[in-house]
Amino acid sequence: MARNLNVLVVDDEETICISLSAWLAKEGFRVETASSGPAALERLSEKLFDLYLLDLKMPGMDGLELLTRIRAIQPDASAIMITAHGSIQTAVESMKNGAIDYLCKPFDPEELSLVMERAATNKALRDENVMLRMQLLEQQDAIFSGIVAQSQAMHAILSDIEEVAPSNAAVLITGETGVGKELVARVIHMRSEQSQGPFIAVNCGAQTETLLESELFGHERGAFTGAVKARRGLLEMANNGTLFLDEIGEISPKMQVNLLRALEEKKIQRVGGARPIETHFRLISATHRDLQQLRREALFREDFFYRINVFTIHIPPLRERVEDIPILADFFLQKYNQETRKRIEGFTQNALAILKSHSWPGNARELRNVIERVVVLARGRMIGSEELDFLKSRSVECQMENLTLKEAERGHIQVVLTSCGGNISQAAKKLGIDRVTLSRKMKRHQLNRD
């Protein structure tokens, strides 16, 4: 049974060392023995072991002290303490000091087998954990490199991220839909002191107020019809991590008050609960809306606005940083090449020109979807202009598709106003509304004749 684990048995009684090592060798462990603490430490200077079986009572250096010394050399060392009957208290003490288990002499063979099995599983899980963490770090690096940027504006954002990430300051990320606000939030989280904690993302615009409240704050059993069991809220789950509230501009003033209190007091109460629950998280919010405007219109609380807006990162739309388009397109091309196992080498000059001239109302998300589509359909080694023809025809449609009603209205009024040379009467006639209505709409959308 090859377990591939190196075990060091430390006991001052030779017979114990011999019988334990013989028994463990049959289980497939690679076993070495040492007769004292100093001898074990000398062995450690040559190599580290996966597991230590330490006798608690040894002359000179006892098992507890040895464990402390081993942990100073090998902080993640796994140790099982061997103790005589009557010293359970010490065994418990050793567990507190980091031993993973203990055995009382003499022990049953099945007990030894179980403890060793547990230790082997524990080691395998920890190795797996280390491996997964390494993979995660690689992914995190990939995500960071996912902020593919050539433009000065994006380089400035990257430097802002590096600056703000290590602090605990609340960050507000603004920008149009699809510019990559969540990606920026994730990178801030990864570079922050909370990076080992969870990253909890919530889309505030996708849920009703009551549902959002229950999602964020959790609820106690019986808090409302259907609350058959208590549930932890996302604010609780974000403890020691980062809470990312996307579409923060959509939350109601009542929810703003609740969130403000949670942020100020670092305590929350579940819906239907009376017990305050402590939670410490870093808040990153994002919105595509103009919060200043909402604040002026009294739709967004001023105190909440300043609480979430300690540091602002504005991500400009893709059309304002055309130089990022080729490098982003290439990044997505490589990504989908890998996913579809294709070997498309790049874009022709004409194709790049089409990509650069498109207005990308859906920003990087739209670009990603376009590249995914062309990679799936592509037959040749290069993506040519003919494969991107659909972009021209769907340009207007696509622009509209990605806009909110308010944005579409604003855009359309602006287009008509421009086409009428700023003449309000003409524009109103063209739009099929009267002058007063148009003026009111222009005021609401902050448009002027020019």
Partner: protein, 187 residues
């Protein structure tokens, strides 16, 4: 190749069955020795058990007889650190010892089968086999008797291959292999 040595009064049927199974399954010619007195030197009086490690040490020191030796006791075996053992052996060594003390059952044939399984398991260790993860193998470590009863009376294919390979190597190296062993392996 292997001496089976009963210590104290041991059911002669159990001794014969253990020897026959070792010979049939491992292919090692097994010679039943005459009964010896109980190994008082290994008695742990406070536990009323015999220290298997001390018996192994004594058997290891014997120069007479076959190169491989398996002791068999009716009395309970243990190690200073373990409350009991069904058997104990040196991995890749020359000596082993088993006890039928804890194999009790109202049906004697069950006791004999258990003893044969433990005997083969320990001889498997002697020729260098570790515990096997497969539960359908004699080299799997049985924590309890019901697990032992659930095991078949043979090795898994991987362990069987190992037994055969190691036995052939012993024959090739002429380590204590008699003409009977040679014939046994040829079968």
């Amino acid at each position: 190749m292997l001496d089976l040595i009963p210590f104290g009064a041991v059911d002669p049927m159990a001794v014969s069955i253990v020897a026959a199974h070792i010979q049939a399954i491992i292919g090692a010619y097994t010679n039943i020795q005459s009964e010896r007195s109980l190994p008082d030197y290994a008695l742990i009086a406070t536990r009323n058990q015999y220290d298997a490690a001390k018996i192994l040490k004594a058997l290891h020191g014997e120069s007479q007889g076959a190169p491989f030796k398996l002791g068999l006791l009716q009395e309970d075996l243990c190690l200073p650190i373990l409350t009991y053992v069904y058997g104990e052996s040196q991995l890749g060594g020359k000596v082993a010892v088993i006890s039928i003390h804890r194999l009790i059952d109202p049906r004697p044939e069950i006791i004999y089968e258990r003893a044969a399984k433990i005997g083969i398991h320990e001889v498997g260790h002697m020729i260098g086999l570790e515990h096997c993860r497969g539960i359908d193998c004699l080299m799997h470590f049985s924590k309890q008797l019901d697990q032992l009863d659930g095991q078949p009376l043979h090795f898994c294919s991987a362990c069987e291959y190992e037994v055969s390979r190691r036995m052939k190597r012993l024959v090739r190296n002429g380590i204590g292999v008699t003409s009977q062993d040679q014939r046994s392996l040829e079968k």
